[in-house]
Amino acid sequence: MKKLDKDRLILGFAGPVLALVVAIALTTVVLYVSGSDPVEPYRIMFESATYVDIQVLIVNQAGTYYLAALAVAIGFRMNLFNIGVDGQYRLAAMMAALVGASVDLPGPLQIALIVIVAMLVGAFWSGIAGILKTTRGVSEVVSTIMLNSIATSLVAWLILPKNFGVQPAGSNNLTTGDIPESGWFPGLSMGAEAGEIYGFTFVAAACGILYWFVLGRTRFGFDLRATGASESAAQASGVDAKKMILTSMLISGGVAGLAGMPTLLGDTHTYSLDFPTGIGFTGITIALLGRNNPLGIAFSALLIAFLDKTSASLDQYGYEKEIATIMQGLIVISVVVSYELVRRYGLRRQQQKVGEELAAGGALATAHTAGRSDADGDDRGDENNNGKNQKEGAAL
């Protein structure tokens, strides 16, 4: 068993590492072909990552990304592709800001209220897609994309001054009003120069631990993974698949709702027209790269945040900061390809081993094989997802 674990670990790492190497190599080629220095931009990016204020930015951004990616990953484990994380996140942040600005409770209660509202709104929005899927068989891919657009229009309507929005005097922006100071989540100050790490970043980390525990160590998590791997098989073994689909969609939306909290509670304290967007889509990249593993997602979130923040100053040195965007795109492509390659290699290797063991004969080998196929059950679920994503990516 131990030896098997090591194999899986190495294969697990091989995918992302291969993807990163390929992405960096291709980016370097792009840089070279476009006539820029192919190495200097990396040096600038690594150098700016040594500054403490940039590090704070990276960590804060990674916290937001982490939550969004967890939301996507919960769907993936269940074989659901929740593309609507972005819409759920924006609507949830907006409604939470609205409620937060209109009531004034003592500190922790105010924060708890805002967070709960955000989760409920996010869950409500993804729940629509969940109900459509379980009752009418509507693909969640289609419905969540549509719900993203509806969320955009809904937020735009709600934030009009004649409805719930506020236009500060002299400003051309629209906000939801300011959340009173009791609803500000205290951060961890890194010094006056560097700013502070949003307190909610630690909550994001806690969510990762919770994700690991619930999915890996509870019956519910097992049911969820089982249903994700094979709906009919799970049904046959007594799991209510439809209920699982709806539940996981609701949880995914609830976590998506949390993604806006680091920024809202730690920095802006209001939802305005320029609230960050696209977090949900970045979350998909990160969940893919992190292989739906809480630790993997954490590293991926840090990596993408690193690319985002350190590329920002490339402009100043005469390089295009879109280099980072190119690299992120290449990472997505190479992740899908390299995971498939690694999966095939793993499969072949396994078959080889089984062959060897069978050749050696004995009851011991049979026991091993049984253990192995069980352990691989959830892994295959992931791979199914990747295949599906690839197809959907092409369709998009």
């Binding site: 500054y51 403490v52 940039i54 309507w157 236009q167 923040k309 920002a312 100043q316």
Partner: protein, 349 residues
């Protein structure tokens, strides 16, 4: 067991290394900034960045002019899509630390960031375009009376329309673009109450495609032309060029925005049908602020550019427009009345 331990050791070791590297970075990005004797000024762009043929480009023109006339070194920085306030704070901080003075945020989205950064750099002048909500000793709020220029466009549109129907295409439905709509509609109605105004927005925030995608502007203008509009005023940045294309191909009048679009190279094929443009002199406001800092008397507080200072206005470079003497006369009259305060133009529709 032993092998696992070795992997764990490697893992811990590399994590420790990474942490050490982090700990070494106990300095901030400002320390990298060099201080040269030469004067510097910087602008930080709004969504779309340089090359939007509109708002951001106008700011750049002002900076370029200052570089040439005032012999300063200009810097500019682009935003990322969907970025947060923290990113804007970072960008402005880096520009200020690098010794740029003034540092100008192009667009209202920079307001919260300017407020934070201006407090940290009391000796640097900060400019913000299109916002008067954040104030400070070292903040200059460069704001425009877009509604006044749009009112004149409404007067012109009401005068030239034959079908008694005119169109307004707004880029993104924000309070700023609503000022254009309000002024235009009022101008039309007060000139000829029988003229119908069709108003439409391309997108709602946070979807800012309505400022950048010409196909959206084209489709919207086409729809209004089908409803018998024969003058279409597009306040939609780059997307507006699609409206101009559709309107011009139909042989109807288009009204441009922000800069004199009759003179723009990209639109040369359609220029004969560009009746006029509502200009918004962002470039002069940028230049003036840089100059005031160079002269040692930095602008501060609200600097309003209205019709009176030609901060907004109506372009008259199309000879076809100046030939319509009655239209020009009506526009001049309305302009005088606004400057004299006889007409107050609304800022919300």
């Amino acid at each position: 067991m032993r092998r696992i331990t070795r992997i764990a050791t490697v893992g811990v070791a590399s994590a420790a290394l990474a942490l050490t590297a982090t700990a070494c970075g106990n300095k901030s990005s400002s320390d990298a900034a060099s201080d040269s004797g030469e004067s510097r000024a910087a602008i930080a762009y709004d969504v779309g960045g340089r090359g939007d043929q509109s708002f951001n480009d106008a700011a750049y023109v002002g900076l370029a002019k200052a570089e040439k006339d005032l012999k300063i070194k200009g810097n500019d920085a682009e935003p990322s899509d969907g970025e947060s306030d923290a990113d804007k704070v970072q960008r402005l901080t880096e520009l200020a630390r690098a010794g740029n003075n003034p540092v100008i945020g192009v667009g209202f989205a920079y307001a919260p960031a300017i407020k934070k950064v201006a407090e940290k750099f009391p000796k640097t002048t900060f400019g913000i375009i299109d916002d008067a909500s954040v104030t400070g000793k070292n903040i200059a709020n460069l704001v425009f009376n877009e509604e006044q220029g749009s009112y004149l466009a409404g007067v012109a549109a009401a005068k030239v329309t034959k079908t008694k129907t005119v169109g307004f295409v707004g880029g993104v439905e924000t309070p700023l673009i609503k000022k254009f709509q309000a002024g235009f509609e009022q101008g039309v109605k007060e000139t000829d109450p029988s003229v119908k105004v069709l108003s439409q927005y391309l997108t709602q925030p946070p979807n800012f495609d309505g400022f950048s995608k010409p196909d959206l502007g084209k489709a919207a203008a086409q729809g209004q032309l089908d409803k018998k509009a024969d003058v279409v005023y597009a306040a939609a940045g780059l997307a507006g060029s699609g409206s101009i294309e559709a309107t011009s191909k139909a042989g109807k009048w288009a009204i441009g925005v922000d800069s004199d679009q009759y003179a723009q190279k990209g639109l040369a094929a359609y220029k004969d049908q560009i009746l006029t443009s509502v200009t918004k002199d962002v470039s002069d406001s940028v230049y003036n602020l840089i100059k005031s800092v160079q002269d040692g008397k930095p602008q501060t507080g609200e600097i309003r550019y209205g019709l009176d200072k030609d901060g907004v206005g109506l372009a008259d470079s199309n000879p076809a427009y100046t030939k319509l003497t009655d239209v020009v006369a009506a526009v001049e009259k309305a302009k005088k009345e606004i400057v004299d305060g006889k007409i107050t133009v609304k800022t919300t529709p």
